[in-house]
């Protein structure tokens, strides 16, 4: 054996093998999505009492709005609903907050999957609320599409974006307070927009562009949030 061969063999013996591939992870990840229904049911069951209270609160607000004949009062109520609807977002980071992430990550469905399911639950719930509020504004308050987008949809979507971004970056109490603060801001934002009459100044195209930009921002944040768990997850061979 020549010195060169010996060096090559030594290099091979001491070099570290490559960590497992990303493709393998994604393949396994897609396969797991077949059991989505099971885990969705469980997550809904364990999502916490907060979501139930938020639902009751929303119902009371909607009922009060329905009974009221004052358009201003109804309009303000419609601004509060989105913020209240997004309060359960504080449950997004509960695994890290309560030190359950390690146990969840080692289980069959993994942390990545749990995160995806939580986002799905909140996403579907938020979308239903948003559509209801938009129809309510259009039907009861006779608001135009531009006004609805600017005063309801955009603050609501900003709220969702902020909620996911905060859950991703902060854990523990910081994330709860951060999400509540974003909810409060999004409550006030419609009134500010209305008072400065932004809906009259801003062209419709700009409103649509902003809406699309925020939706894309949310999608990106959600993807990063779900994929971030991959950082700690290793694919076995």
């Amino acid at each position: 054996m020549t010195e060169k061969d010996l060096k090559e063999q030594l290099k091979m013996a001491y070099s570290l093998p490559e960590s497992d591939s990303r493709k393998r992870f994604i393949r396994a990840y897609q396969k797991r999505s077949l059991q989505l229904g099971t885990i969705l049911r469980i997550e809904l069951e364990f999502m916490g009492i907060r979501s139930v209270f938020a639902g009751i609160f929303l119902f009371i607000i909607l009922y009060a709005g329905y009974r009221s004949h004052n358009p201003d009062f109804t309009w303000h109520l419609s601004c509060v609903i989105p913020a209240a609807a997004l309060m359960p977002m504080t449950a997004l980071g509960r695994s890290e907050r309560y030190k359950m992430s390690e146990l969840e990550a080692a289980s069959r469905f993994s942390a990545c999957f749990v995160r995806l399911v939580r986002l799905m639950i909140l996403g579907i719930f938020s979308l239903i609320v948003l559509i209801c509020v938009c129809f309510w504004q259009a039907g009861v308050l006779q608001a135009g599409t531009g006004e609805i987008l600017l005063t309801i949809a955009i603050p609501y979507l900003i709220n969702v974006y902020g909620g996911v971004a905060i859950s991703r970056k902060w854990h523990g109490r910081e994330s709860i307070f951060g999400i509540i603060a974003v909810c409060m801001i999004s409550c006030v934002l419609p009134a500010v927009i209305r008072n400065i009459r932004l809906q009259e100044v801003m062209p419709a195209a700009a409103v649509v562009v902003i809406t699309i930009a925020v939706v894309l921002g949310i999608a990106k944040e959600c993807m990063i949030y779900v994929k971030e768990s991959e950082k700690t997850i290793w694919n076995l061979c």
């Binding site: 570290l16 393998r24 289980s107 069959r108």
Partner: protein, 235 residues
């Protein structure tokens, strides 16, 4: 059935926590002992697949089937972390049912297994109490119960006896010895007496490397004495 660790390495920015560790692990109780900061927890996390190694592989070989998918691997894995929490609204039974669901057990099997395990870990009477009212030892026993919910083929226990009283330790040892008959049980501890009577094989870890890997019978002396001697020798 075999779990193969091949040059498993974890490097943080300025520290190598686990340094090219290799081993072939067969069914039985494997005692992983080492001082605090030796790299035991990092190694266990990598074996569980919740920490990405800098290099190296873990391969599970099950009979003729050479490779298993990630989901299959998780399905046969039981893990008790050193420091774990619980959702505040959970009762003991809720916690086990939640973990059973994440492990993919159907409701009927999960319920049966939960009842069975609550009895084994002596938490039958406290099953419907909130976990926040539990003592440290009770929480630890609940953690042990969740780790064995899915009848794991690979059971990884990180400092499982922390907080347990003497009586519970004995119960736990018996349970582990039973599980070790047809599973790979890796038990990490810095308390030698926890493993000396039940471990078939001892892995001693220091500064991220195995400084001893052998069967208990090969040692031929008191394990604690051997442990101290090995460490002194390294120093």
């Amino acid at each position: 059935m075999e779990l193969v660790l091949d040059r498993l390495t974890k490097q943080y920015s300025n520290k190598i926590a686990v340094d090219r560790v290799s081993a072939r692990l067969k069914p039985g109780v494997i005692g992983l002992i080492g001082a605090n900061g030796a790299g035991k927890t990092t190694l266990m996390r990598m074996i569980c697949g919740i920490l990405k190694p800098t290099g190296g592989t873990v391969t599970f070989k099950n009979g003729s089937q050479l490779d298993v998918s990630e989901e299959m691997y998780r399905d046969i894995l039981g893990y008790l972390p050193q420091d774990f929490g619980y959702y505040p609204d959970f009762r003991g039974r809720d916690f086990l049912m939640y973990m059973a669901a994440l492990k993919g057990l159907d409701k009927k099997t999960a319920k049966r297994k939960c009842d069975e395990l609550l009895k084994i870990v002596n938490l039958e009477n406290a099953a419907d109490k909130k976990i926040k009212t539990y003592s440290g030892g009770m929480k630890q026993r609940l953690g042990i119960a969740q780790a064995v919910l899915n009848d794991p083929k690979i059971l990884i226990l990180d400092e499982p006896t922390a907080g347990l009283d003497l009586k519970e330790r004995v119960r736990f040892r018996n349970l582990i010895a039973e599980l070790g008959k047809d599973s790979i049980v890796i038990l990490s501890t810095h308390i030698v007496s926890d493993v000396e009577h039940i471990a078939d094989r001892i892995l001693m870890m220091k500064d991220g490397q195995f400084i001893y890997d052998g069967e208990c019978d090969e040692i031929g002396m008191d394990l604690e004495e051997f442990y101290l001697r090995e460490f002194d020798r390294e120093v």
